[in-house]
């Protein structure tokens, strides 16, 4: 039987992992080890439920409920002076737990601290847009939708941003194929001319360096060039590939010192 390949994660996999391999962890510190973060977290915990919090690589990571995201970010912006939303995106955990992880990376300039606010949402669960708090979220949320298909409520202009507007699928999901499949080569033919034209036109050719002998519109023929539109004839010149050297490639059998030159100045 052919080996079964699960389709929920088609990303590249390491071809060998030692059977005794145990991955080490990036160390986590308790939030109490930093007084500024500890004060921020205490203020946050009074108002909202905090699922988990720790410090990793000098930045505080806070897990909250996804329903609170707007209010928590508002609290961070207005009460705790985290005045910039540097980044916002998702991580695909659909294969493992059927969830997306959303993170908001925030910066406080007067505290010189960075905080990452994280939450888990189900695949079809929508989150609230934070565009009213940070205009930068306008484009970030569009990108997040474009790449993962995470739905965002109350966004002013939810449209794909990087991929074409009629694109199907979400490229950064782990299930998204890494190469075009057999349907991809028919995409443009089907779209422009219809499926019935497949026999006439043929699949899309993806080799950009390909030379078609019967293409009379281009100037390239195998081994020589012709003017544009030159007709294809059977008596095309045969141009065998030639090397510059007459008797094959020049090889040095034995280097004679007196016949070689040492170049002092590499710039010459």
């Amino acid at each position: 039987m052919r080996a079964y390949k699960p389709k929920d994660d088609v990303q590249k996999k390491p071809y060998y992992t030692d059977r005794f391999w145990v991955a080490p962890q990036v160390p986590k510190q308790p939030v109490e080890s930093d007084e500024i973060f500890a004060a921020d977290l205490a203020a946050l915990q009074e108002k909202f439920e905090v699922l988990d919090a720790y410090i990793q690589v000098e930045q505080m990571v806070v897990y909250i409920n996804p329903e609170d995201n707007f209010e928590v970010l508002k609290f961070f912006k207005e009460e705790l002076t985290y005045d910039q939303l540097s980044e916002l995106s998702a991580i695909d955990w659909l294969a493992q737990k059927g969830e997306f992880e959303i993170f908001y990376q925030m910066l406080s300039m007067n505290k010189r601290k960075r905080v990452r606010i994280k939450m888990f949402i189900k695949e079809d669960q929508a989150i609230e847009s934070v565009e009213k708090l940070f205009r930068s979220a306008d484009w970030s949320e569009r990108e997040m939708y474009d790449m993962f298909g995470v739905k965002v409520n109350n966004h002013p202009f939810m449209k794909r941003i990087l991929m074409p507007y009629d694109w199907q699928g979400f490229p950064l999901r782990k299930t998204y194929p890494l190469q075009g499949d057999e349907f991809a080569q028919w995409y443009e033919v089907d779209k422009i001319y219809g499926k019935e034209a497949r026999d006439i036109i043929g699949p899309e050719l993806r080799d950009t360096a390909r030379i078609d002998r019967y293409d009379s519109e281009r100037f390239a023929r195998l081994g020589h060039e012709v003017p544009k539109g030159a007709p294809v004839t059977d008596d095309d010149p045969i141009n065998p590939q030639e090397y510059q050297e007459d008797e094959g490639v020049f090889m040095i059998k034995k280097l004679k010192k007196e016949s070689s030159v040492i170049v002092d100045d590499p710039q010459r």
Binding site: Q11, K12, P14, Y15, Y16, W21, A23, P24, Q25, V26, K28, Q56, V57, Q59, V61, D83, Q84, L85, S86, E87, S89, I91, D92, F103, Q105, L107, M109, R112, R114, R116, F134, R135, S136, D138, W139, M147, R160, I161, L162, M163, P164, D166, P171, L172, Y176, L178, K191, I192, Y193, G194
Partner: protein
């Protein structure tokens, strides 16, 4: 007059270009020479004034985040070059620093000094390129020629170091691959000695230039709140009255050991941004002079290490690989399988010439990052055009796009 869809253009651009309410829709780009790459702007015009702007990006999207998830860490390094291709070492550096923070590496001092020199050279190259192209967009051809002459000199220095002029890949995770070439310091000093005079030349051409000032002063005003809300960083933020430079505030490498100022302005307009770019070039030169001294001190102290020593993650020096069995085995595993950083995540921000360049890496202990998010400053500097352009006139669009200094390799990634 609505477009008629047909099979060749199925529902292409459902836009009415000429409308009854006297509003004209102008399609700017994606091949416009002053769009600095592949920016497409849909501008709604009342007469010559813009009432609505809608930037459309994605024409250079290559899916770098997806590529990163399917590459070992060292493999991804040359790909980062293709983000901000005007200053590619700063992209390399941001990625290398993020991975080093993830695995907790300390880089040898000599490598740090070399990295700082490369970063500042890249900043100068980027700012000179910015000045040249923006001046050309405004119509000042001479500045373009002068600034490109100086940039050419810097590119030659970079070529001497790493063999490439644009896509350097000059920095490795754990250090730098090479020591600088013997003539590097002399060439750099020659350049730096001339630089103040060159900057003075540009300023003489532009500062009191009537056209330049009319196109720049009071145009493209970004208030402080708007800059913060839109995630502006770098010169865009500093021109809006926030003196925030990551090199100063969250110093990495040896930036806490060098003396430099952070130029900022509260004028918030195009001219303020232009002044900041010019002053930053002077500050970069100041840093480079100090780096030269630091490098010479490393030389005197005999600090010759260029790569960190971490056999689990970094290959041994070439000499060890060629002579010692265990180093060769390690090297083989690291090249074929790749390093496996610990499980965890990291967000590292560095001050690239354009602004805050951040790398978020989520590692699950495998040789490929589970998720890598590239935080490119130009992405938001393009987004802000939505709010910034309305109210301006058509010629202002060109000067505003110029001073935002967006590079599309970085916007689309």
């Amino acid at each position: 007059m609505a477009q008629q869809p047909n099979r060749l253009r199925p529902f292409f651009e459902n836009i009415t270009y000429d409308r009854d309410d006297n509003e004209l829709v102008l399609n700017f780009g994606p091949q416009h020479p002053s769009a600095h790459g592949q920016l497409r702007l849909m501008l709604h015009l009342q007469q010559e004034q813009i009432v609505k702007a809608h930037p459309d990006i994605g024409y250079l999207h290559r899916g770098m985040e997806k590529m990163a998830e399917n590459m070992i860490y060292n493999e991804f390094m040359p790909t980062t070059d293709r983000m901000d291709y005007i200053a590619s070492s700063s992209n390399n550096y941001g990625f290398a620093l993020a991975v080093e923070k993830l695995i907790g590496l300390e880089v040898p001092r000599r490598a740090k000094v070399i990295r700082m020199m490369l970063l500042e050279i890249n900043r100068l190259m980027s700012h000179l390129f910015w000045l040249a192209t923006t001046a050309l967009d405004i119509g000042a051809m001479t500045v373009f020629l002068y600034a490109f002459r100086e940039r050419e000199y810097l590119m030659d220095i970079m070529e001497g170091y790493c063999g490439a002029r644009l896509t350097h890949a000059a920095i490795r995770i754990g250090g730098v691959p090479l020591d600088i070439q013997p003539e590097f310091l002399d060439q750099l000093k020659t350049f730096l000695d001339k630089l103040p005079k060159n900057i003075k030349d540009y300023e003489d051409l532009l500062d009191e230039n009537r056209i330049w000032r009319m196109r720049m002063e009071g145009v493209g005003i970004i208030p402080k709140e708007m800059a913060l809300s839109w995630g502006c960083t770098g010169p865009m933020l500093r021109a809006s009255g926030v003196a925030w430079d990551i090199r100063k505030e969250e110093p990495y490498e040896l930036y806490d050991e060098v003396e430099f100022n952070v130029p900022w302005s509260d004028k918030c307009d195009n001219f303020a941004r232009y002044r900041i770019y010019m002053e930053e070039m002077r500050e970069s030169a100041k840093i480079l002079y100090q780096c030269i001294d630091m490098y010479e001190k490393c030389e005197r102290d005999g600090q010759t290490e260029l790569m960190a020593h971490a056999p689990k993650y970094i290959s041994a020096p070439k000499l060890d690989i060629m002579t010692q069995n265990y180093s060769l085995m390690q090297h083989f595993v690291l090249v074929t399988q790749g390093m496996r950083p610990p499980v965890g995540e990291v967000y590292v921000a560095t001050e690239s010439p354009k602004g805050e360049l951040g790398y978020y890496i989520n590692s699950q202990g495998g040789p490929y990052p589970y998720r890598l998010k590239l935080r490119a400053p130009s992405f938001w500097h393009t987004g802000i055009l939505t709010d910034l352009l309305p109210g301006h006139y058509i010629p202002d669009v060109v000067s505003i796009i110029g001073t935002t200094n967006i590079v599309f390799g970085e916007v689309d990634r």
